[in-house]
């Protein structure tokens, strides 16, 4: 049993992890994720794909809200930008998916500059309101710019091919989402331990102090906006591949709240937390559905009538319960358990 960490080189301080146990667990989890679609049924794989997409989106939002401390209620807007960019480039311009997927991220990042620049002078609540306003403006533009976005008709997305596989269903979709999620998580972990990531945390903890220490607030806040929106845009593109029909109704305000619920549930600022939160919250509606299904038919018709309301209430309860009882989120819970375990039988 290790009694403590003794770092002898500066490299060790910024290393992702110096524990062989952690790396072996990550490798084991990844291997499990690779074989999962061969063991699970189609429906479970679809659920896992949603969870993977949620991971991508949550990691993106976490960069902005968790790491940099800029509250965003406009995630639905960026997801919509990503999804529509991917759909338009694929269907109207005939781009291959390996090009349109990153392009969706790039367009979302460019548009985030539009939001970012007016938001630079703002923080906290004001920023939350601007991002909210932005999400509405995006929705409106998509609805009315019919020549580009097909307006209220929506766009069917089909025929996304990668290495000859149709990556819009079953295993190919799962592996695409898994690959994107793995790359995004790895990139995010590395950004967080770089100068940029440390600057973001400094801004979150005290922006005036950060400025005094030589962090260029304007530049690093804009970086946070762009990196976060790039990732969220890619999540949006993945959504468009999965649901196959892009329509503005998909990107309602509740999606922004779901995204915030995920990172609060997981633990703000922690990437592992974002992953945990995303998996937990994507599977939660399913658990609720099963709960209602175990009762009689009247209850399940009640569920289908009010599916959105029940989902919203769930998110609300999750947000409030975690903020009140465990503000560090699931990852904080995990840390407590680990500490308890390694210190047992001592209290601390």
């Amino acid at each position: 049993m290790r009694t403590g960490h003794f770092k002898e080189r500066t490299g060790q301080l910024v290393a992702l992890s110096d524990s062989k146990v952690v790396w072996s667990f990550v490798a084991l989890l990844f291997a499990l994720a690779l074989v999962a679609p061969f063991v699970l049924g189609n429906y479970q794989v679809t659920l896992l794909v949603s969870a993977l997409i949620a991971i991508v989106g949550a990691v993106g939002l976490n960069m902005l809200t968790g790491t940099t401390g800029l509250i965003s209620l406009g995630q639905a807007g960026f997801l919509a930008v990503g999804a529509y960019t991917n759909a338009i480039l694929m269907m109207d311009f005939g781009w291959p998916v390996w090009l349109s997927l990153p392009a969706a991220g790039v367009v979302a990042a460019l548009i985030s500059i539009l939001v970012g620049v007016p938001s630079l002078r703002l923080k906290g609540l004001y920023l939350a309101i601007t991002t909210l306003a932005f999400a509405f403006i995006i929705n409106h533009v998509i609805l009315y710019a019919e020549w580009l976005t097909h307006g209220p008709n929506g766009i069917f997305v089909s025929g996304a091919k990668l290495f000859g596989f149709d990556i819009q269903k079953g295993k190919p979709l799962y592996y695409t989402a898994l690959a994107v999620a793995a790359i995004v998580v790895f990139a995010a972990l590395n950004i967080q331990r770089s100068r940029i990531g440390r600057a973001w945390m400094a801004i979150r903890d005290h922006d005036i102090a950060a400025r005094v220490m030589g962090v260029d607030l304007v530049r690093y806040k804009l970086y946070a906006f762009m990196v976060s929106s790039f990732i969220v845009g890619i999540a949006g593109a993945l959504i468009s591949l999965q649901i196959r029909f892009v329509n503005i109704d998909v990107f309602a305000l509740i999606l922004s709240i779901e995204a915030l619920a995920i990172i609060i549930l997981g633990g703000l600022g922690s990437i592992a937390g974002a992953i945990l939160g995303a998996i937990f919250l994507s599977l939660l509606p399913e658990a609720i559905r099963l709960f209602f299904d175990t009762f009689s038919d009247t209850n399940s018709s009640f569920y289908t009538t009010y599916v959105y309301e029940i989902r919203g209430i769930t998110y609300g309860v999750v947000i409030i319960a975690f903020l009140r009882l465990k503000p560090e989120g699931l990852i904080g819970l995990w840390r407590d358990i680990r500490k308890y375990w390694s210190n047992w039988p001592l209290a601390y």
């Binding site: 906290g124 305000l253 503000p327």
Partner: protein, 290 residues
């Protein structure tokens, strides 16, 4: 010219609703420093409760409000005690997120109780058209504008003259100092929520009487943000005035610039105001250099 007058008149009506809702936002922000994202849901919930009272007891407008307002204040008090009070001392971000969570919960519960179908709700207000000059008005529209005027005046008088109102301004100016001179800050917070809920109920009932009582009433809360920002987040009277301005801007945009712009012109105003003058027209300027 008639077209212009008509646009301004209808703009004033929807603006009065924004102004009332925005006053509720500003009241809570002023005394607690929290933007209450559940304000729109409070409007919706109290309007539905009022609707149920109306259909059961068949009251006319003023008795109806006399019953609705105390119930709304009670709801405001309960929400504050149950959800906001335990968060005392937590970071603002956490409290604001609690109101976001509260918003989706209230919305879901309201829709589950009253169902997803819209209702016609006259709130006991007569429906014959009244002419002022050449512009036709429904009485409900005049009630709405009147309610804004009354509420603005009452709000001003309350904050200016009453003991509680002065205490509220003291808490807004400096919470610690207010605590030191013997003001119960937690009681002020509770009162702010109660009054805000009362204003929300007036806004909700009159909005429903003018338009419709539908499950998307909560959205008016978000649509009132432009008014809150333009008026200055901590200015109760300012948000009332700004509500009227936003209402007119929306209608003029809709009438002269383009169809559908009504929905977002307010949000464009938000972005501009926040860039040029983040503390709004009437808000207190907060000097902080970075």
């Amino acid at each position: 010219m008639d077209f212009f007058l008509l646009l301004v008149a209808t703009g004033l009506v929807s603006g009065a609703a924004y102004g009332l809702i925005a006053m509720g936002f500003a009241l809570i922000f002023k005394s607690t420093g929290v933007v209450n994202f559940a304000q729109g849901e409070l409007v919706m919930l109290t309007a539905y409760i009022s609707f149920s009272l109306y259909t059961t007891f068949d009251l006319s407008f003023f008795p109806l409000m006399l019953v609705t307002i105390p119930i709304s204040m009670l709801i405001g008090l309960v929400l504050e005690r149950l959800f906001i009070r335990p968060m005392l001392g937590e970071p603002i971000f956490a409290i604001v997120m609690v109101t976001v969570g509260l918003a989706v919960i209230l919305r879901g519960v309201t829709i589950m109780i009253w169902g997803p179908d819209p209702f016609n709700f006259t709130a006991g207000i007569p429906t014959e058209v009244v002419y002022i000059g050449s512009v036709p008005f429904y009485p409900a529209q005049l009630y709405l504008i009147g309610a804004l005027a009354v509420m603005t005046f009452a709000g001003w008088a309350f904050l200016r003259f009453s003991r509680m109102g002065i205490a509220m301004r003291a808490v807004a100016a400096n919470e610690t100092a207010a605590l030191l001179v013997g003001i119960s800050v937690s009681r002020i917070h509770a009162v702010a929520w109660m009054l805000s809920a009362a204003i929300a109920s007036v806004a909700g009932v009159l909005f429903a009487a003018n338009f419709k009582l539908a499950p998307d009433l909560w959205f008016q809360g978000l649509k009132s943000f432009p008014a809150v920002i333009l008026g200055g987040l901590d200015s109760v009277i300012g948000s009332a005035v700004a509500g009227l301005i936003i209402g007119m801007i929306e209608n003029l945009f809709q009438g002269y610039v383009g169809q559908g712009l009504r929905e977002i012109s307010g949000f464009i105003v938000i972005v501009i105001v926040l860039m040029v003058r983040p503390y709004g027209l009437f808000g207190s300027k907060d000097i902080e250099r970075v």
